[in-house]
């Protein structure tokens, strides 16, 4: 029997699940080997659980979603969170530093119609997660690696090194050193292939913190090069701002 796949979405932009449809060359092969039991973006065919593999996109921002993820967990043998929203709370986790009701008033004339939590939190804060795939958005080749690994009964391999390693492998000139551009590459988890520096800009950390990131040293360097405190805080507080290491460092600087 083919293993069954389900894809669920919480607060997110849809980009990460779109990555699966972006595997144009592999999509039909994947569909051949997996039984797609639930993937609303792609098919109206929907089956109830249990599912062998569940991909979860998005963060938890409503009381209803907090309940829903628990139900999904119960129906899932192997649950993989995909993307910065699901693994770190996403860009919408910026509300975690603010007054959410005030945010709501900024967007909605009748905030009372809408139920929302004061926070946006990663899936792992709510249920056990078997594997996390980083990125905003995820890398489709890494997604295929996860799918391929699960099909072949092995653990997915997604390297933990920093963006710098890939940056050098691809022969990009360091934007920090050659231009003084602030770059989060040295503290950011690999996965994107070091895109930004190869386009002459600094990494903004969309794959979240690397293992053992030395944030204090890097932000000291930024500030020594003249990056204002506020910009340093904002650089850390974006798509993975709520990831523990980035969060702690932005809080530290903000409180300085």
């Amino acid at each position: 029997m083919k293993p069954s796949l389900a894809v669920f979405k919480f607060a997110s932009c849809d980009g990460c699940q779109l990555s699966l449809l972006d595997c144009e060359d592999e999509l039909l092969a994947v569909a051949d080997r997996l039984h797609i039991a639930c993937f609303l973006e792609a098919t109206s065919h929907v089956e109830p659980g249990p599912y062998d593999v569940t991909l979860v996109e998005g963060s938890i921002t409503t009381p209803h979603d907090a309940r829903r993820i628990r139900e999904i967990r119960e129906q899932s043998k192997y649950l993989v969170t995909i993307g910065a929203c699901a693994t770190a709370g996403g860009i919408q986790a910026l509300r975690n530093w603010s007054d959410t009701p005030e945010f709501m008033r900024a967007v909605y004339a009748h905030p009372d119609y809408i139920q929302t939590l004061a926070t946006s939190t990663p899936i792992a804060d709510h249920v056990k997660v078997d594997f996390e795939l980083r990125g905003c958005p995820i890398n489709k080749y890494q997604l295929l690696e996860v799918v391929g690994a699960l099909l072949n009964g092995r653990r997915p391999r997604t390297p933990v090194h920093t963006v710098c390693l890939d940056c050098k492998r691809r022969g990009t000139v360091c934007v920090m050193v050659a231009r003084g551009t602030a770059c989060l590459g040295p503290v950011t988890h690999a996965g994107c292939g070091a895109i930004c520096p190869s386009y002459d800009r600094g990494c903004y950390g969309c794959y979240g913190p690397a293992t053992q990131p030395n944030l204090v040293s890097l932000t000291n360097q930024f500030q020594g090069e003249g990056l204002p405190r506020r910009a340093t805080v904002d650089l850390l507080r974006s798509f993975n701002g709520y990831a523990p290491e980035f969060r702690a460092e932005s809080d530290r600087i903000a409180q300085e």
Partner: protein
């Protein structure tokens, strides 16, 4: 009295629509063929972008707003950079402008090819998904996937990656691609241009329900070109509105059943129609030569008031963007200055561009430190939402004689004509009939 008995109230409730981007449901209550209530329920959780943009550096805006939508991030980036440049009083160069059009072509290709093949064609042909359809229509689906891939490849070269491109900056691009990188795309695009012509002819052979409505179409129009990045707001009722006046003609209203705001015409509170069909209807004469030729061939008298023709409009637009992209690719010689300077100043600016799904309006207020003070974003789906509900209200009487699954499918099909992007559309997961 007796009518009441013979026509109990029936409720169609789709908990979660499928083959749409984002999450939403559909709730319809009708009696006989009289529709009492239609709600496109968007329960996509609020993400509050406009609020947290306040206080951020304007340079970050294109990266942040991309995350509103993973399907059309370029649209958000384009509207934002144009609006911010307007606020800063910055003029981009014609070369940057062309590259932006090219980037937009990539997104249209990706998005339209996705929608046509994987989301919408299955409705016409009776499949639950594009993947299921591939079993019987392998060539068509594979052609579609290949077209979609070209869009992504273009986005990768010019934008750095397909989803949430990293190369879009206020003032232009961080880096202009090398000539060879762009030239390498040409063979694929030549194939693609021919393939989109075949595709559109094939689409013309689908069966279109007979359902015409007196729509009010709204789209950007530009005197010299098929409008993508700029123009004035044209309507099928003959108006021509400056983008800066957008908010005095259209406004967003909040409805209790949805986290998405509904946009209506300010004057009379009525909905309007944005997207490919609106664009083809309003600017069909500025489509590329091949697209115009095919438009004449397909046996439809444009402008069309049948929303089911949207899929054909997407086919024509695919031809157009392939043709335009090819032209830009072939003449590209690199770019010495990929970005113009954007010194901070206090200002307000707005812009509208044409997302694959329709007009996308942004307005920003910035201060002299280069920070965003205020942001407003009006996405295409919130504009179409009222129109979709209105369509359903009028469509249900046509199909009231069908059984529930068929009705449900048909309603979903209709919703998908609009390629709604926020979160919702068709397949009614659960259909509740309330015959109380």
């Amino acid at each position: 009295m007796s009518t009441e008995v013979s026509s109990p109230a029936r409720v169609i409730k789709v908990e979660a629509l499928a083959r749409v981007e984002g999450e939403g449901g559909l709730h319809v209550r009708f009696r006989g063929d009289r529709v009492e209530e239609v709600q496109l329920v968007i329960f996509e959780p609020p993400r509050l972008f406009e609020a947290f943009l306040r206080g951020r550096s304007l340079a970050e805006v294109p990266d942040i707003v991309a995350r509103i939508c993973g399907i059309c991030p370029v649209a958000y980036q384009m509207s934002s950079v144009h609006a911010l440049e307007a606020a800063l009083g910055v003029q981009i160069t014609p070369e940057i402008r062309r590259l932006r059009r090219l980037l937009y072509c990539g997104e249209w290709i990706e998005s339209h090819a996705l929608h046509v093949h994987l989301l919408h064609a299955p409705d016409f042909l009776g499949y639950e998904s594009g993947i299921a359809m591939a079993r019987d229509w392998p060539n068509e689906v594979n052609r579609g996937l290949r077209l979609k891939k070209h869009g992504n490849e273009l986005l990768e070269v010019l934008g750095g990656r397909a989803i949430h491109p990293i190369n879009v900056a206020v003032g232009g691009f961080y880096r202009a691609p090398r000539r060879e990188e762009m030239a390498a795309l040409i063979p694929d695009f030549e194939w693609g241009l021919a393939a989109t012509v075949e595709l559109t002819r094939w689409l013309a052979g689908l069966e279109f329900p007979d359902f015409e409505r007196p729509y009010r179409f709204v789209a950007l129009a530009h005197p010299d070109e098929y409008a993508l990045n700029e123009g004035h707001v044209a309507t099928s009722t003959g108006e021509s509105i400056e983008v800066t006046d957008f908010e005095s003609h259209f406004e967003e209203r909040q409805v209790p059943h949805s986290t998405a705001l509904h946009c209506v015409s300010k004057a009379d509170g009525t909905p309007y129609f944005v997207g490919p069909l609106a664009r083809v209807n309003l600017s069909g004469d500025r489509l590329s030569p091949t697209a115009r030729r095919v438009a004449d061939e397909v046996g439809i008298a444009w402008p069309s008031n049948n929303s089911f023709h949207s899929i054909l409009a997407r086919g024509l637009e695919l031809i157009h963007v392939y043709e335009e992209a090819l032209d830009i690719l072939k003449t590209y010689r690199g770019l010495a200055r990929p970005r113009v300077d954007c010194p901070p100043r206090t200002g307000v600016g707005c812009a509208a561009t044409e997302a694959p799904r329709g007009l996308l309006y942004h307005r920003y207020e910035v201060n002299d430190e280069g920070l965003v003070v205020f942001a407003k974003i009006v996405p295409p789906t919130s504009q179409n939402q009222g129109q979709i509900e209105d369509d359903l209200r009028n469509w249900i009487p046509h199909i009231a004689d069908r059984d529930e699954p068929a009705m449900t499918r048909s309603c979903e099909h209709l919703v998908r004509n609009y390629d709604p992007c926020i979160s919702c559309s068709t397949h009614f997961l659960r259909l509740t009939i309330d015959r109380s």
